[in-house]
């Protein structure tokens, strides 16, 4: 077993290389994909020891031999289950989503967060993925706002004001990672309730608890607080890191949120990122309304003014000019400090449109007759031109778009639904309507 740990001199190089990659892993999605691509190439003994549940990657076949699980089909099956679930939820004739969200992330920093069943600790894992989540959240909901609340020593504390900039939130969170004492759901709910009561009526009010503890240490009757949140239409969701707790389940059921408990680190990440896409809008939760917004232009090159956000002298070309009060602001989207007008640019709005026009789930096709497919010219993935005929595995599972009948490989299927949000086949056809 000594060699597995990478102790031998010869194994040092690959060990450090992959460890370094691991650090880079969450920088962007790009790097992550590379990492997983590389992970498949590495042999088991070359991998870093951190992968400490290696037996889970094995399964027994009918003759009792151990075989590695075909991860690609498994990952794809998992992804399809999620996709179908999502599309079933929004099967209603007119899709309405809560695109303008006001979300407080409540992070449990009680003693339980220092438990080391997650490596290096629950707290570190929560912080790491909270960062990933905040970036993903703003990518998918550019007009939304996030704030962070922490719970420790029985009280809760607002770490950051609710705001629209991912960087400031992440910076504040990373500076405050110490845990002690008990956590109190009631205190956190009371605090968040106070803040969320002030947001405009068209906004969807949400709270997301990342809860490590197995208990809550409250000063009063938490049932009253839950009833109050329900009345204020605050949607509370909890992701537990330990085990299911009745009070969390009750809270989520009452307020219309979701309650999930993570099994391990990757499951936790998956559960957390499920909260990034906007939830279906519930009519009584937020009143539909027209919001007055400004679309500012960049200032002229020769205009020198003081920006309202940093109080620094900037040339006009560096900032945007509020169309109502003509004050200079540095970045979009924001709220004008002087006149309170919401300032956005049209790409920010366009970023959310894919939630309203989702790509239909593709149908699975397993080519039993590769020859017949060849005649139709469907041997290649329409998107990336990759051949479906895979020399080292017999299963050439792929998918077909129900609208344009083009065939796609599994990788393209995931890319199209998760990132691109266009079907290349349908877009390459002129609709006759």
């Amino acid at each position: 077993m000594y060699g597995v740990g990478g102790g031998g001199g010869g194994f040092n190089a690959p060990y450090t290389a992959s460890a370094r990659r691991r650090n880079h892993e969450d920088d962007e999605e790009e790097e992550e994909e590379e990492e997983s691509g590389e992970g498949r190439v590495l042999e088991a003994w070359e991998r870093a020891y951190a992968d400490d549940r290696s037996w889970e990657a094995l399964q027994e076949d009918e003759s009792g031999l151990l075989r590695p699980i075909d991860t690609k089909t498994l990952v794809h099956a998992q992804y399809r289950r999620r996709l179908l679930l999502r599309s079933a939820a929004s099967a209603a004739a007119r899709i309405q989503k809560g695109l303008i969200r006001y979300l407080y992330i409540v992070i449990d920093l009680s003693r339980a967060a220092s438990e080391m069943d997650y490596r290096p600790s629950r707290m570190a894992v929560v912080a790491k993925y909270a960062e990933v989540f905040i970036r993903e959240f703003f990518d998918q909901n550019p007009l939304s706002h996030v704030g962070i609340v922490t719970m420790k020593d029985g009280i809760s504390h607002r770490l950051t004001e609710i705001g629209g900039s991912p960087e400031s939130q992440i910076k504040a969170l990373m500076g405050k990672l110490e845990c002690s004492g008990e956590s109190s759901l009631q205190n956190a709910l009371e605090l968040v309730h106070g803040y969320l009561d002030q947001v405009p009526s068209y906004g969807h009010k949400e709270v997301l608890f990342l809860y490590s503890a197995l208990n809550t240490c409250d000063p009063g009757d938490i049932m009253e607080t839950i009833a109050k949140c329900k009345k204020s239409k605050i949607r509370c969701s909890v992701i537990g890191l330990a085990a299911e707790i009745f009070i969390c389940k009750y809270l989520c059921e009452e307020t219309g949120g979701s309650y999930t408990v993570a099994l391990d680190e990757s499951h936790f990440k998956e559960l957390l990122l499920e909260h990034a896409p906007p939830p279906p809008a519930i009519a009584e939760y937020a009143a539909a309304n027209l919001i007055k917004m400004g679309f500012p232009q960049r200032g002229a090159e020769d205009l020198i003014s003081i920006c309202s956000c940093h109080k620094k002298i900037k040339s006009g070309a560096e900032g945007y000019i509020c169309p109502r009060c003509k004050v200079n602001v540095c970045e979009l989207p924001t709220e004008c400090r002087t006149c309170g007008l919401t300032l956005v640019s049209s790409p920010h709005l366009a970023r959310s449109y894919h939630h309203l026009f989702p790509v239909q789930p593709f149908d699975e096709v397993s080519s039993v007759h590769p020859n017949r497919l060849g005649q139709k010219g469907g041997q290649k993935c329409y998107g990336c031109q990759q051949s479906f005929i895979n020399p080292d595995s017999q299963s050439s599972l792929h998918v077909r778009c129900p609208k344009c009948n083009q065939h796609f490989c599994l990788d393209c299927d995931i890319y199209i639904h998760e990132s691109l949000h266009n079907c290349p086949g349908c877009e390459s056809q002129r609709s006759s309507s």
Partner: protein, 289 residues
Amino acid sequence: MASSKLYSDEVSLAVVVVDTNPLFWATAALPFADFFAHLIHYVNSLLLLNHLNHVVVIAAGLSSCTYIFDSSDASASGAADVAATFAKASRKMDEFIAEDSRATSSNGSVADGNAASLLSGALSLALCYIQRVFRSGIRHPQPRILCLQGSPDGPEQYVAVMNSIFSAQRSMVPIDSCIVGTQDSAFLQQASYITGGVYLKPQELNGLFQYLAAVFATDLHSRTFLRLPKTLGVDFRASCFCHKKTIDMGYVCSVCLSIFCKYHKKCSTCGSEFNRVMPDLNSVPDQRQ
């Protein structure tokens, strides 16, 4: 990683999206045959810059899009004869144009002489191809997209083009645009601005190859040392859904984010009914005090 980059030439993957809109090329100052010759010279020079460079050409027609040329196919088949390779590409292009015009005439939807090419489809194909290259391993070439656009933008493609732009931005793929037509393309201006690519509208189309070689042949690493054409101000104002007017200030539906230039009782896109205009948060209490 950064230090090793300084000493080695960067390997690039250039995906070139070519507008083959017959309605545009029929009236263009530069004949399509000449344009195609410029393109072939450009593709050739990219392949000569580094033997690992990889070029893919995608045609965006009126009714369909397809892959025209892939340099990895050409080298795999052992075709050392460059002329033969490009004769094949040119034949494929001709076939595509014939096929595309047949599809257009049978479809019959393009009656007016002002239809746009399927930029959104070609960009989606390009991005799928680039994702495949990303999957190929850690030492993949640096991808970029070049759009050679002549025809005007198709407003009906807005959402799809924007989706492609954001996906390119997430994967850090710059979209360069070279406008060979007469009018600027608002889609591609935004695409190049958002993804950090170069937007250029050449003055003299007879020297198109010069522009392509001087501006668009440079790899991403070299670009940090060059003074490439700067993107001028991009207009990020929105146009309203009701009158297609460009507006400074407007009303946005909180449910579906449709933009209107004046107050409506009901959203025409998603059907939500609005009870009243949102007062601006700050101004109303001020007046009362």
